[in-house]
């Protein structure tokens, strides 16, 4: 286990965020996507590229050496650049590396970038396969979890589909979202079934895009004259991998463990959370992880969702960006995009999807394997 935490090191902040909209595959090279996000983040922070000490790029599908071949067009400053691949959590792990480097004092300003274009990514072949691995695609894996959840807690397929209704509503208010159309429950349910009770709109779109976050130290805020009111503290960075959990769902149990570690680092509880972005690649996941994070007890998430507790304006806004379901899941950018959304929310700059009075947020991603990465962000004024 890790012997130290972010809380043992000097404070770090998100000073700038930038995105290239998530969208379907286009002819645009990844270089353009990534540079759009980085330039936007630099402008947002009021930083120059020459102020940036290091760069971490989360990507799973671009191929080797993505960073330097893109970032040289901001000026070849010679800073260290590294690609980070952690499946769906690639961007989250890139952000974590940037936070750790700044917190450790090795850098004052570090760029966390996620950029990807859809490609035929595959997990590293282990040479071992189960009975139905070829047939059980992610939608079927989560359809099985949905079936088990509905059976155990007496929840209906419509109650699970309501996650997609909420997240499409949020996505319709997010100019960077891939799916920007509000959907009724009827529309979600009338879509073709993919697997089990999961319909197309309960499965995330995988497109292209980019997201960037600039992580800075307190010293950098002073030295570079940044606006402290727009800097959001990163008060926890937790990353774990799966253990054995008997017959319980590993992603849910891994989320529970990782969230517990993040809460200890930040000195908060789930009750303190105002905004949460979770790995809602499939609708059922949001219910499972809301419970695992501790927003409510087992089997309670569907009922709370129906009563508006997870809406923008509710007790805790879950996936205010639209989440993976509506904002999209371009893989590398996804985890950094969550950081961008939470930063925007905690600054009070989220417009018509603003969670009122948001002060504390959590970003959660899983990567197949499985790994889990959770960050807690807080307004510190």
């Amino acid at each position: 286990m890790m012997r130290g935490t972010l809380a043992d090191l000097r404070p770090v902040y998100v000073a700038g965020i930038g995105l290239h909209p998530y969208r379907r595959l286009s002819e645009t090279p990844y270089v353009r996507l990534g540079l759009t996000a980085v330039r936007s983040a630099l402008a947002d922070a009021g930083l120059a590229w020459t102020d940036v000490d290091s760069a971490w790029t989360g990507t799973a599908g671009l191929g080797m050496a993505a960073s330097r071949r893109m970032l040289r067009h901001l000026g070849a400053t010679g800073i260290p650049m590294t690609q980070v691949e952690n499946a769906s959590a690639s961007g989250s792990s890139a952000f974590r590396q940037a936070c750790l480097e700044v917190a450790a004092g090795l850098a004052d300003v570090s760029l966390a970038l996620g950029v990807d274009k859809p490609s035929r990514v595959r997990a590293a072949p282990t040479g071992v396969a189960g009975l139905a691995d070829r047939l059980v695609v992610p939608a079927t894996h989560f359809a099985l979890l949905a079936d088990e959840y509905m059976d155990r807690h007496g929840v209906t397929a419509e109650q699970v589909a309501a996650v997609a209704v909420k997240n499409h509503r949020n996505g319709s208010r997010n100019p960077f979202a891939q799916r920007r159309k509000e959907r009724t429950l009827q529309e979600v349910m009338d879509e073709p079934a993919v697997s089990g009770t999961l319909t197309r709109l309960q499965c995330c779109p995988i497109g292209e895009g980019a997201a960037a976050a600039l992580v800075v130290s307190g010293e950098a805020v002073e030295r570079l004259g940044l606006d402290p009111a727009r800097c959001v503290g990163v008060t926890a960075s937790a990353q774990r991998s799966e253990r054995l959990y008997g017959t319980a769902d590993p992603d849910t149990e891994l989320t529970r463990e990782t969230a517990g570690e993040a809460f200890r680092q930040a000195g908060i509880t789930a009750a303190d959370l105002d905004v949460v972005e979770v790995h809602d690649a499939f609708s059922i996941e949001e219910l499972l992880y809301a419970e695992a994070i501790g927003l409510c007890g087992a089997g309670e998430a569907a009922g709370l969702l129906a009563r508006g507790a997870f809406d923008v304006g509710g007790r805790c806004a879950v996936s205010p960006s639209g989440g993976l379901l509506a904002m999209g899941h371009p893989i590398g950018p996804t985890g950094v995009g969550q950081i961008a959304e939470i930063t925007r929310q905690l600054r009070g700059e989220a417009g018509d999807r603003q969670q009122p009075g948001a002060r504390t947020g959590l970003a959660h991603m899983l990567g197949v394997g499985a790994v889990c990465v959770i960050h807690v962000l807080q307004r510190l004024d």
Partner: protein, 136 residues
């Protein structure tokens, strides 16, 4: 049984001709797992795994009828089940009919899969109709 299995590393027939799953028992901690792998025990790290045969019977934890699959050679719909085996591991496999949580299931070896001349393992509930070519 003379007809070969589609995945002989994963399953075959026991002494009485019944389908069995090829599992692994850790020599150090006794953990039973499926499928077999040569790398080491997930619970304790020991590389000493002993081959064992698992009864292909269990209880359905969850089921999903799959309507879309990216590979056009895979005919849809088909049913995938999570089965808690009587011998321990929770595994996933194909069900020959439709299933729901709580169903008792027993595997059978039957033709009619991707390679017609080979037998595939599918779970079935007592009331399930036989797959193409008849049941085992």
């Amino acid at each position: 049984m003379s007809t070969p299995c589609a995945e002989p590393a994963l399953y075959g027939t026991g002494p009485g001709g019944e389908p069995v799953l090829y599992g692994l028992r850790c020599a150090a901690c006794d953990r039973v797992s499926f499928p077999r792998q040569p790398y080491g025990c997930e619970a304790c790290g020991s590389a000493d795994g002993l081959p064992c045969e698992l009864a292909a019977t269990g209880t359905v934890r969850a089921a999903a009828e799959v309507h879309r699959h990216h590979d056009p050679r895979v005919p849809v719909p088909f049913t995938i089940v999570s089965v808690l085996l009587d011998d321990g591991p929770l595994i996933r496999g194909v069900h020959a009919g439709t299933a729901r949580a709580g169903d008792r299931v027993r595997a059978r070896l039957e033709p009619g899969g991707a390679v017609p001349d080979l037998l595939e393992l599918r779970f079935a509930t007592p009331a399930s109709p036989a797959g193409p070519g008849g049941g085992a």
